[in-house]
Structures are given as structure tokens and as C-alpha cells.
């Protein structure tokens, strides 16, 4: 998706209409930063966060100590929000022109390759051995991190994959595809397990629950669906927020989902949705969406990454 989300500090506020302070958003840690970081993610494991700035530098923070490391991956162009994934060993990053780099946590580039296609999304498996890559024009790909090579590519009727995630046991890959289907593949060989009918508009992201039994899917329809991961069957739906949802993250500790809501005209953050899957209401958290540059989770629950000032990020816990 050739869109520039998360540069919200430059934008007009869209206000806090329909927000409810039902949840507490509490700052967990502050991170010093250099450069204009426009996208950040919580690394698998929850010990680190990584971000990218306008100079194509990669930032890595230790969330316990606040220590920041700064790397250059020698990417030719900008990095799409979402084209960044990390865990305790690896940082994976992709560029608009299709360069893919796998770095270690000291910033050394271990593997580098060119896909010649805009990289729009990445996700590492929980064990760190596999990596999904989403691109602007093709179905999801699964890569082996150690060898830096592609193992298989999925298929769609005509579209690319937006978001993709690997199940906690590493056996399945779930893909939110532009042809409006949600697909599940065997991670081992790429065999299609199912293609589940979606909404009329495209799904943009998928997240897998900690026990692997359910997936949350959201996209241009503006609502979140909870689906059975084994079949793709819809179990529950939230209400619609009326704007597209670009990212979803399921809590590992409670039946709740965070959703990054974009304004449909600017595709910039317009709100942070919060859905307790035992209800239908997709609430909006009382945080300024202009400041949100990322979200994720650690072992204790859901996290937001916000830019408090040009030099400070805040990692907030949603409780």
C-alpha cells in the first residue's frame, strides 16, 4: 500500500469524537530518539522496539533500559509502515523499491536481496526462523531467515496480500488478501488450507491469538472480525468505526484487540480502536492518534508506541 501513515505529527487533528476513557493508557517507558521516527513496532518477545526514520535509519530500543541503537541497512528508498519486523535476534526490513535486509541486533546486515517490488509488510514467526513478506502486487511469501531465501509463495485470484502472520506453533500462515479473502496456508509447504470469504472491501491486517485458536481480521470495512483460525469461520464482529483499519493486534492475555484506524481520505491515523471481543462495540481509546506511530504486545498485554516529542517516544500499556 503506497501510503504514508504515521506521519501524523504534521497533520491536522481529527479530534477525539466517540472516544471513551474505558481503558487506561499508561506510559510504561520513555525512549530517547534521534531523527523523525514515523513507524515503530514491538519486537517479538517484547524486550525491544524497533522503528524507522525519514533518513532510512533503523532504531532499536531496549525497553527495559531505554538504550537506543541506530543502524543503516543501506536501503535505496523509504520504508513502508509495516515493512519492519523484529525479535530477539533479527530485524527484517524492506523498502518501497523491493530491497529486503535481514540484520542482527548489532546492525550487521546478514542477508540482503532484491524483490523488485514494493515491500509493504513483514512478520517473523515466534521462533524467529521464518519471515512473511507482503508486497504491493503479489501474494504472501514465506522466507527462511537463516538462508535468506524464499520457501514458497501463496496464490490469490488477482490480488496482493496486505497483512500476514505466522501462528504461535509456526505451522500456519494467515493472509489478509486484496481479493477480499482471508487465506490460511501450511507454513511447511505453502499448501492452501482454506480461502475464507471476506467482506466486500479489502482486509488489511490479521493477528493471531496467543493460543493460536483465533485470528482477528480488519480492513477497509472499518470493523474487526474474530475468526476461527482452523476454518476461517467468523465467530464475532465488532461494530464499524466508519474508517479503514490498517493494523490489528490481539492481546496475549485478554480477549481484546487494538486497531489502528485511518482517515479514509488521508490514510493517516484517525483513532485507536479497542475491542473487547465479548462485546460488539469497537471503542476508541482516549489517546491522540496523531502521536501514535506503532503498536504491538508483550507478555503482559497490549502496547502503543507514541511520539511525545521529536526527541522522545513513549511506550504505553493499554489496560
Amino acid at each position: 500500500m503506497r501510503i504514508v501513515v504515521f506521519s501524523a505529527l504534521l497533520l491536522l487533528s481529527l479530534g477525539f469524537a466517540n472516544t471513551v476513557p474505558a481503558q487506561t493508557v499508561r506510559s510504561m517507558t520513555k525512549l530517547d530518539t534521534t531523527g523523525e521516527v514515523y513507524f515503530a513496532t514491538i519486537c517479538n518477545g517484547g524486550e525491544n522496539a524497533a522503528g524507522v526514520d525519514r533518513e532510512k535509519a533503523i532504531h532499536l530500543w531496549n525497553l527495559a533500559t531505554g538504550q537506543q541503537k541506530l543502524f543503516k541497512a543501506d536501503l535505496d528508498t523509504q520504508i513502508d509502515p509495516g515493512a519492519l519486523a523484529c525479535d530477539r535476534k533479527t530485524i527484517a526490513v524492506g523498502s518501497i523499491h523491493g530491497a529486503v535486509a535481514l540484520l542482527d541486533l548489532e546492525g550487521k546486515v546478514r542477508k540482503r536481496t532484491e524483490l523488485k517490488e514494493e515491500i509493504t509488510g513483514m512478520a517473523l514467526s515466534p521462533d524467529g526462523r521464518k519471515l512473511t513478506i507482503s508486497t504491493a502486487n503479489s501474494p504472501v511469501q514465506l522466507w527462511d531467515v537463516a538462508s535468506g531465501s524464499r520457501e514458497w509463495q501463496g496464490s490469490t485470484t488477482f490480488a496482493n496480500t496486505y497483512g500476514a502472520r505466522i501462528s504461535p506453533d509456526g505451522k500456519s500462515v494467515f493472509a489478509a488478501d486484496g481479493d477480499t479473502y482471508v487465506r490460511a496456508y501450511s507454513a511447511t509447504d505453502g499448501k492452501l488450507v482454506y480461502a475464507a470469504e471476506g467482506d466486500l472491501l479489502e482486509p488489511f491486517d490479521v493477528s493471531v491469538s496467543a493460543d493460536g485458536r483465533t485470528i482477528a481480521v480488519a480492513g477497509a470495512e472499518g470493523r474487526v472480525e474474530l475468526r476461527e483460525s482452523a476454518s476461517g469461520k467468523i465467530l464475532k464482529k465488532s461494530s464499524s468505526c466508519g474508517n479503514p483499519i490498517f493494523l490489528v493486534t490481539m492481546s496475549p492475555t485478554s480477549p481484546t484487540v487494538l486497531a489502528l484506524i485511518l482517515d479514509e481520505m488521508t490514510l493517516h491515523p484517525a483513532g485507536i480502536g479497542y475491542w473487547n471481543t465479548n462485546t460488539t462495540e469497537l471503542k476508541q481509546l482516549a489517546v491522540d492518534p496523531k502521536t501514535v506511530i506503532g503498536m504491538g504486545s508483550d507478555a503482559k498485554g497490549l502496547l502503543l508506541v507514541r511520539q511525545e516529542s521529536p526527541a522522545t517516544l513513549s511506550v504505553d500499556r493499554v489496560e
Binding site: M1, I3, A159, D179, E202, A220, E264, M265, T266, L267
Partner: protein
Amino acid sequence: MEFSRRDLLLSSVAIGVIKLSPGMTAASAVESWLRAEGDARPATPIDQLGPFYRKGTPKSEGHSAMLRAAGDPGLPLAVSGSVYNTRGAVVPEAKIEVWQTNHHGKYDITGYRYRALLLASTKGEYDFQSVMPGHYPARKCQHIHFLVQADGHKPLVTQMYFASDPIFKGDPRKNMNDDCPSIELVRPILLSDQATTMAASATFELVMEPL
């Protein structure tokens, strides 16, 4: 040494066997000749699908569609073209979905305004009437989305851009940007006086890859 058909035609122009009308270049004349003969054509470059593709667009009658309604704001725009494959053959009755923003740069995501599904004719022809799409903040370039599907061919997902777009500052070749992946997708527009208003038209050939 073997000469290609293109080389022979260019040589014929060079030595005067083929004469060109004023304003026509040798290269463009030969390209037109080869196309008319059904020679190979380069595939239309692919471009991103979304966001805001919406399935279920109602099918229009025949190979024509009317996307604009009476009184809609914006410069009236007529788009026409034909569907071929890379072997140069006409692809008859291809299913063509088009979608775009309205004049104000807004997609209809709850209905099907400025969306159409039409079936190319047996000669591969299609056309639709719309308005020049608006700009919206998330995309720099005015564009119309196309999804083309036909038996025996890879689905084609692409977009059409306009040389008249202010973003190109009058020279698309010089002022291309990351928002538009290929100069081949940027089409000139022809302005013409209608009875009461100015209107624009553009052609967009769609070239699919056989499976």
C-alpha cells in the same frame, strides 16, 4: 544477418520507400504499423490494487458504462480502449472492473458510485463515461483502477494516470514519482468542446499476459 520486421520498416522509412505524413516520427509510425499487424505487444505494467477495491460491482450492459450522473461535479471524461494479449491478439469479452474517486477525491466505500463492471466486446473494445478523478491526500496522482480478467490469461491489475495531472508539471517523463510506477500508464488526454461544456477523452489499451 537477419533483420526484424521493425528494422525493415525503419529502413524503408529511411530510404523513402515509406513516406510519413507531417509530424509523424519513424518510430511511432512503425510501432503503429506493427500493432495494426497484430505483432507482439508489451504487457500493461501492473500496479497496486487498492486500497478500496470493492467486490460485487453491478454489471453494466455490454461493453460500455456510465459512471457519472447528471449534475456530478468534475470534468467529464470518456475512456475507451481495447483488450489485447502480448501476442497481439484481441482478447474478446474480458471482464473489466474500473473504480475511481469522484471529483472530490473520495471513493464510495459503501456503494458503487464511480465503479463499473463491464464486458469487453467480441472485438475487445470497451468504453466508459466518468469524470476526471480528484486528488486525495494519500495519493499524489489522479488515477483510475482497472482489474481485467479473461480465460486463459493472467488477471491484470493496473491503474491509468493522466499526463494532464498537475503533479507531472506538463512533462510526465521528467516528473515521474513513486506514486506512479510506469510512464506507460500515463495517458494523454484530448480536450474537446461538447454542446455546453468542455470534456476530456483518453484511450487506454489493456494488454494481458497469456497463461
